[in-house]
Amino acid sequence: MEMNSINSWLQASVRLAAPLMLVSVGGVYTERVGIVNIGMEGMMLAGALVSVAASFFTGNVVIGAICAMMAGGLLAVVHAYLTVPRRASQLISGLAINLVALGLTDFGYARLFSTERARVATFPVLSPPEWHGVPFFGPVIFAQPVVVWIALILPLVSAWVLYRTSWGLNIRAVGEHPHAVASAGLSVFRLKYVGVILSGVFAGLGGSALAQAELGYFAPNMTGGRAFVVLAALVVGKWNPIVVAAVCMLFGAADALQLRIQTFGAIIPYQFPVMMPYLLTIAALAGFVGRTVPPKTLGVPYDPESY
């Protein structure tokens, strides 16, 4: 590949990885508190529609993003309520939320924009255009819209919170040994609620980034399983925010490669690079790629009275 196409591939990789990285930030928290949230897919989709709709009516991308985070957070409250105090199956709850979001976004989209596909503003690129030509950093950072910068910074912040603050220690402890957290006088339910709601908030933001980092519109089911890719990244990245984000970056690069192959043709079929994240996850789970040790009570409901 010549320099130009490498640059455009790098740029596309980071841009496609950004929504995944944003979702992964929340994904780490929910799984660290022991709650699997398959519903992030639906929360991301809801975020995408709400973001586009709010931007359309207010003309402001930032308000769109905030509304998207609120929409995702709201759906996450449902998931948290059903799975934490009610101890419902995390899988069923997440699945139901996905279906609800899929149906409602389809319905809402057709209702709101029945006549034409609404075009809305995208996130602005803040750096001056002459910086975009800088080797590597140009395409990877400077030419990216501001939401991608957020996606690049958040995993670092999240790792600092998780490993360097006492609140982060509490979060990590809840998923490992909730009864110990309870004996320390902390509210297990509250920590779990916060973890799950964070996953919804960031899934919503991820949806906003998906719709408005570059495209500027919503399409039904536009997430197309991206949050599941994040679930995969959590396994491969072993629930460490920075490693998980790096894995998301890798998956984004594979996605960008796929698009390039589809456009320009190559020896390998374009379907193969996009299969990679899923196959890698299965390999990781099967123990071929190092040992993956999930948070100890991941997926297990917390019952304060049984010990």
């Binding site: 398959i38 419902a88 149906g103 319905f107 039904p220 079929p269 789970l285």
Partner: protein, 373 residues
């Protein structure tokens, strides 16, 4: 856990439908959806009337309901069987792709055999395709203890891309110069027969219903069924009872995969008559919703499948009459599942509380007696 609320149908020993919970969930979902329809500016009664007419109002409507129900039923059974063994087969989507691809491959070869045998071979190939797709998750779950949830989910996407690759030239399955990636038309000898002339209702529905009944009988009356239920109920107890738990899980997941494969088979051999790129479009996940609604019971899956099928069939009529988008069907399905868990776990929490109160009361009584002695 809800003995009082079960409906025992007379004359059918063992046919017990724990009906109260799903029916209540369906009613709640319909009520909430009516609110949405009303908020969208249409008359809910008018909308539901159109939905009913579009799903049960005429022969064509009934046939359409059957066509929609067939893949849902099989996909639901593929999840439901796993349910009974405590397994989550989320891979229906992928198994449908592989089953359909295998059936298509056989259906495209002009075999020197009678038509019924060609059809049978194609259907069996589809079953085998689904089994093959479940092989890795089943092995990992049974013998390596890797959760089947993530592996089956991930393989759905691999299957979608794999089949997509098979439908792009230069693959032998790809139609040359097609406007959309698809296979050449399947040979008529491998078509599933049409049940009602002038409609697209095909024998896949009969296959699904028969398999549902067979599965019900197998689960209830055979050693295989007993082992499956024991493994699902209490693996430790099953081990003590001498059940090969790992082997049972392995076999059950493979059969689940096969059933998922058959769901894809019906779509290509009965309805679409070609294999299209990304043709499944979420039916596997709807099957999952269906199995949850039916709590994994095969007969419940049949009933629920007809309900889901009628929603999908009637939704287009509803759209024509009231302008309410057909995606409302999916909203109703999804809300049903949401209410199922909300109701079910409310029930459980109340029950545990009642038990606790009872045991506390008993303890109190015992304690009191001690004091008085």
């Amino acid at each position: 856990m809800s003995e009082r609320k079960t409906i025992e149908l007379p004359g059918l020993r063992g046919l017990v439908l724990s009906g109260a919970r799903p029916i209540l969930a369906v009613i709640l979902a319909l009520v909430v959806s009516a609110g949405l329809i009303w908020a969208a500016g249409a008359n809910p009664i008018e909308a539901y009337a159109a939905l009913l007419e579009g799903s049960f109002g005429s022969v064509a409507a009934l046939a359409n309901t059957g066509v929609r129900a067939a893949p849902l039923l099989l996909a639901g059974l593929a999840v439901g069987l796993g349910f009974k063994a405590g397994m989550w087969n989320i891979g229906g989507e992928g198994q449908m792709y592989l089953g359909a691809a295998a059936a298509t491959a056989v259906g495209l070869i002009p075999l020197p055999v009678p038509a019924w045998l060609h059809l049978l071979l194609a259907v069996m190939a589809g079953f085998a395709g689904g089994v093959l797709w479940a092989l890795v998750p089943a092995y990992l779950r049974a013998y390596r203890g890797v959760s089947e949830v993530v592996t089956t989910l991930m393989l759905n996407y691999v299957a979608g891309y794999l089949v997509s690759w098979l439908l792009h030239e230069p693959s032998p399955l790809a139609e040359k110069g097609a406007f959309y990636p698809m296979s050449p038309p399947i040979l008529p000898s491998a078509h599933l027969p049409i049940l009602v002339k002038g409609t697209s209702l095909h024998a896949g529905l009969i296959l699904a219903v028969v398999l549902g009944v067979v599965l019900h009988l197998v689960l209830r009356y055979t050693a295989f069924g007993f082992r499956t239920r024991t493994v699902g109920g209490n693996p430790e107890a099953a081990r003590y009872a001498g059940v090969g738990v790992a082997r049972q899980i392995f076999v059950v997941l493979l059969v689940c995969g096969g059933l998922g494969g058959l769901a894809g088979v019906g779509e290509v051999l009965g309805l679409k008559l070609r294999l299209f790129d990304y043709f499944v479009g979420g039916v596997g996940y709807e099957g999952l919703a269906l199995a949850i609604l039916a709590n994994g019971n095969p007969l419940g899956v049949i009933l629920g499948g007809v309900f889901f099928g009628s929603l999908k069939a009637g939704a287009s009529k509803m759209q024509i009459v009231t302008g309410i988008e057909a995606s409302m069907a999916l909203v109703i399905e999804a809300l049903t599942v949401l209410f199922i868990i909300a109701i079910g776990f409310g029930e459980r929490v109340r029950l545990t509380r009642r038990e606790q109160r009872k045991s506390r009361a008993e303890e109190g009584v015992a304690h009191g007696n001690e004091l008085h002695q």
